[in-house]
């Protein structure tokens, strides 16, 4: 689509330089994907503006940059990450700390939680759980237009693996704190695989933090398999500094009667692009996709959602909201595809955005593509400002303008946050959003980077 640009050449060099090292630490099955993936990447290139899905997001500033370090972890790296503790202290969760997306391989490479749940390094799982790994790995992350997915497959050297066995209901969520830290400008790619078998119930919270002010580029791919009747929730809280670029590609494959929800809360970040792909691959599956971002300064935040209704009687719902301040820009790109046999589909999509300044810009592109007739599908998108009438109403009751504006914005954001099922986290998000809207420091206190 973009031809072989100079940037693509650069990554070809990077690939040649590192491929032996990368292949050395991952399983042969993983390695068998690399060559064809790189070919596909060479064909597609880094998505440019000509790529319809990246029309509103320019990645060049981050992909042009020469990173000093292409990150592949060595055990010594993890020692630095050890002391980190999440400040949501009352959150009752199994905590895991990742460094630049990688599972610390200091002690045990795979850890067993109660009920036979396994969490750990992807490369280790590829050996210990070869059958499961080979059954699911590389099956869901597919894209005909996005070269970055293929770049990840070609070059990711590891990541996180989670396995939830059949019938296991986990009442405590797993909290993954992903620390991004390096002394040099770093490009990192990691690959996650989550398998939630039949009748299981599992929630995961992923929090991103940058700990050092260097320039970071992260290109992550997460594959999720959700078995029959299983429930799966993924919540992302993104908190990165202005010099960091994060691209997440999440592919959720759902079987019959499964229910999933995905929640992307972006509080801070230089350039963030969340690609979420929901594939409803069985009758009666339900998927909920939520997103909220608060952007200011020169930040750019882009949510891309693709919901693929491949089977009858599935339901999907998307709700994405954005508040844009200063010179920030935002984009939303949501697509509902209803395939010819997917009769009885219910699909909804909503995107609301508020522009706070004249320099902020929002582009929204909600799409419906429907090839079946017995469906109920709708979408709505708005871009505007706070409701004058509501503002007047509050002011007329003695609330000052600033307070009234805050209340309205908070209410606007809360509509997304209220979908978080974990109460402690929901409250925490509410307070973070409130602080953020007030212009107070809203990053977790442990963040050591002071953004300008």
């Amino acid at each position: 689509m973009n031809g072989k640009t100079e940037i693509t050449e650069k990554y070809l060099d990077l690939y040649k330089e590192n491929i032996n090292k990368i292949s050395g630490i991952s399983s042969p099955y993983f390695n068998s994907f690399r060559e064809s993936a790189f070919e596909k990447f060479s064909e597609l290139g880094i998505p440019a503006k000509k790529n319809e899905a990246y029309k509103y997001t320019n990645l060049n500033t981050f992909f042009d940059h020469d990173y000093e370090n292409y990150f592949m972890p060595v055990p010594a790296d993890f020692i630095k990450a050890e002391p980190f503790r999440c400040e949501v202290t009352d959150l009752d969760a199994y905590g895991i700390v990742l460094l630049n997306g990688f599972y610390p391989t200091l002690n045990e490479k795979l850890r067993q939680l109660p009920n036979g749940i396994w969490i750990g390094s992807l490369n280790e799982a590829a050996i210990q759980f070869a059958d499961k790994f080979e059954k699911h790995f590389g099956k869901y992350a597919k894209s005909e237009t996005d070269g970055l997915v293929h770049l990840n497959t070609a070059m990711a050297s590891g990541g996180l693996f989670i396995y939830v066995p059949e019938g296991v209901a986990m009442n405590r969520p797993v909290q993954v704190v992903n620390l991004i830290q390096s002394d040099e400008d770093t490009f990192t790619q990691h690959r996650n695989l989550i398998i939630a078998e039949k009748n299981s119930n599992f929630s995961i919270i992923i929090c991103d933090h940058t700990l050092s002010p260097q320039k970071f580029l992260t290109n992550a791919v997460t594959e999720v398999f959700v078995g029959e009747n299983a429930h799966f929730d993924i919540i992302r809280v993104q908190n990165e500094h202005n010099n960091a670029c994060k691209i997440t590609n999440t592919f959720i494959h759902q079987e019959k009667n499964s229910v999933t929800s995905s929640n992307n809360i972006t509080l801070h970040g230089g350039l963030i692009r969340n690609n979420t792909y929901h594939y409803l691959g069985g009758e009666g599956a339900e998927s909920y996709s939520y997103g909220l971002f608060l952007a200011d300064k020169w930040q750019h935040i882009d949510n891309f959602v693709n919901v693929d209704h491949a089977f009858p009687h599935c339901t999907s719902n998307q709700l994405f909201k954005g508040v844009l301040d200063d010179m920030s820009t935002g984009a939303f790109n949501g697509r509902i595809l209803v395939r010819p046999d997917a009769q009885g589909t219910f699909a909804y999509q909503k995107n609301n955005n508020i522009l706070l300044t004249d320099d902020a810009k929002m582009d929204s592109k909600p799409q419906l593509e429907i090839y079946a007739d017995d469906v109920k599908c709708s979408h709505g998108a708005t871009i505007g400002q706070l409701d004058d009438d509501a503002l007047f109403y509050l002011q007329s009751r003695g609330i000052n303008k600033r307070e009234a504006r805050l209340m309205l914005m908070f209410g606007f954001a809360h509509e997304v946050i209220q979908n978080i099922k974990i109460e402690v986290l929901r409250e925490r998000m509410d307070s973070l959003v409130m602080q953020r809207l007030k212009g107070e420091l809203s990053r977790c206190a442990s963040c050591m980077v002071k953004c300008g």
Partner: protein, 482 residues
């Protein structure tokens, strides 16, 4: 009931195209193919001045550097431009002063189509410019309109008689570099209508252009230029038909509208080109560039379209809202049946302050039809208080068809309010059941529901056209729509 309904929906495909006849008129055709020679030949045939030939050649040369875009959600078979005849016209007879001078065969054609070429038919109250294949045949009520200073004539006449106006406005809204088909049109356009409403004049009757493709293998490339000067008002109608043929015919037209200060233009289209047969063979490719410029303050342009014909419809009647307080409207009903495809919508570009736009699009899809709405609402940085409301609904009548919505909202101003909503569904069984219960047959019920669904748009049409449009909707979905 389920079976009954299926049967009725099946009957959808039995609706026949009733304008598919061919008139045997003596024609003047040029050899098929496209080259600089052909462009010169067309220009020569029309005795065009030097500047217009230059414009054509400039366009042609630019066209050679372009490629047909591939982004629409359409399956378009390759078009061989060397197989198309770019100019065909009924053999001219001198002095077309009265109706009697018109070729009787031609007159019969228009009678058959129900187009009043005779001015005696005052009842209809519509001034018509009839364009067959490449040239304008007859413009009625020319004199009556001239009394008020309104110019309504064929494009060729305008080039001869009002070159200054044409020079000033042609290409000002749709530049020759605009897009693949607009550039092609700029190179080879044959004729079309020209209309100028002077300052402060409210046009007393509906102006209308009727297009007909008659010859085989020809493409139709007409150009309409409509200028509404300050404080004027005009309502303009456009209709079109073509004979049934097995091969695809290309129709690539340009419509340009300029609305000056306080002017209002209402442009209505009932598009009924030959849609191809039940297997999707033949039919017209309708690739049209339509754009209006709200140039002055408080100006208003309103597009209304009923799209029932054409094998492939690919057009986006747009408004550039440049003047402060200007308004753009777009109302559309697009029907695709059998193997018809449509990718249509609008572009609203808000440039001036306090500009408003409204988009109402209703898609109806049956058989193997594919119907896409694609629209852009763009609010530029200085367009304070811009307001847009878009509503796009799709109705599906069959399980093999598709309905798609691709809106683009680009907002660069914090005071703007842009809203978009869309729904897609089939006719509710409960609605049909309700009608059945009250003694209305399933067929009539579907008709009732579809008509109600499209009413919001049809109501925007001038009265005579509204009746016509309603009938057309019935024919297009015959069997399912009573």
């Amino acid at each position: 009931m389920e079976k009954d309904q299926d049967k009725i929906l099946n009957d959808v495909t039995t609706g026949e195209y009733k304008y598919g006849f061919y008139s045997d008129i003596e024609m003047d055709r040029i050899p098929k193919g496209l080259s600089e020679e052909v462009v010169r030949l067309i220009s020569g045939k029309k005795n065009e001045p030097e500047w217009l030939l230059d414009f054509r050649l400039k366009s042609y040369r630019h066209w050679l550097t372009m490629k047909m875009p591939t982004w629409p959600n359409l399956k378009i078979p390759p078009i061989n431009y060397q197989e198309i005849i770019f100019y065909a016209a009924p053999k001219e007879r001198k002095n077309l002063k009265s109706v009697d001078d018109i070729d009787p065969e031609l007159k019969k054609t228009f009678d058959k189509l129900g187009i009043p070429l005779e001015e005696q038919k005052h009842l209809s109250g519509v001034a018509v410019d009839a364009v067959i294949d490449s040239v304008s045949i007859k413009t009625t009520f020319k004199e009556t309109l001239a009394e008020m200073g309104i110019i309504f004539c064929s494009f060729s006449d305008a080039v001869k008689e009002y070159p200054d106006l044409v020079k000033r406005y042609m290409g000002s809204v749709v530049p020759y570099t605009d897009n693949f088909f607009a550039t092609l049109n700029s190179a080879v356009f044959s004729d079309g209508s020209f209309c100028y409403i002077p300052k402060g004049v409210r046009c007393p009757m509906e102006l209308s252009t009727y297009f007909r493709i008659n010859s085989a293998n020809t493409g139709q490339f007409e150009r309409t230029l409509l200028i509404a000067d300050e404080e004027s008002y005009v309502s303009y109608l456009e209709g079109c038909t073509a004979p049934s043929r097995d091969e695809n015919q290309l129709h690539a037209a340009i419509v340009e509208i300029v609305a000056e200060k306080n002017a209002e233009v209402k442009y209505s289209t009932v598009q009924n080109w030959y849609p191809g047969d039940r297997e999707g063979k033949g039919g017209v490719f309708n690739f049209v560039t339509k754009r209006g410029m709200c140039k002055g303050e408080n100006s208003k342009i309103s597009w209304t379209q009923i799209e029932t014909g054409s094998a492939i419809t690919w057009k986006y009647p747009s408004c550039i809202l440049r003047g402060d307080n200007s308004t753009g409207e777009f109302y559309s009903v697009a029907v695709t049946n059998n193997y018809q495809q449509a990718d249509t919508g609008t572009k609203m570009t808000h440039i001036g302050k306090n500009t408003k736009s409204t988009i109402v699009s209703k898609g109806i899809t049956a058989g193997h039809g594919q119907n896409s709405y694609r629209g852009l609402v763009k609010v530029l940085k200085n367009a304070t208080n811009a307001r847009n409301y878009s509503q796009c609904d799709s109705l599906l009548l069959g399980d093999k068809c598709g309905a798609h919505t691709f809106p683009y909202l680009e907002v660069d101003n914090q005071t703007a309010i842009v809203e978009h909503e869309a729904t897609t569904s089939k006719i509710g069984e409960d609605q049909i059941f309700y009608c059945n219960q009250r003694g209305i047959s399933t067929e009539d019920a579907i008709g009732l529901i579809v008509n109600g669904y499209a009413r919001e748009v049809i109501n925007k049409l001038p009265m005579e056209f509204a009746v016509e449009a309603q009938k057309l909707l019935q024919i297009s979905l015959e069997g399912s729509v009573g």
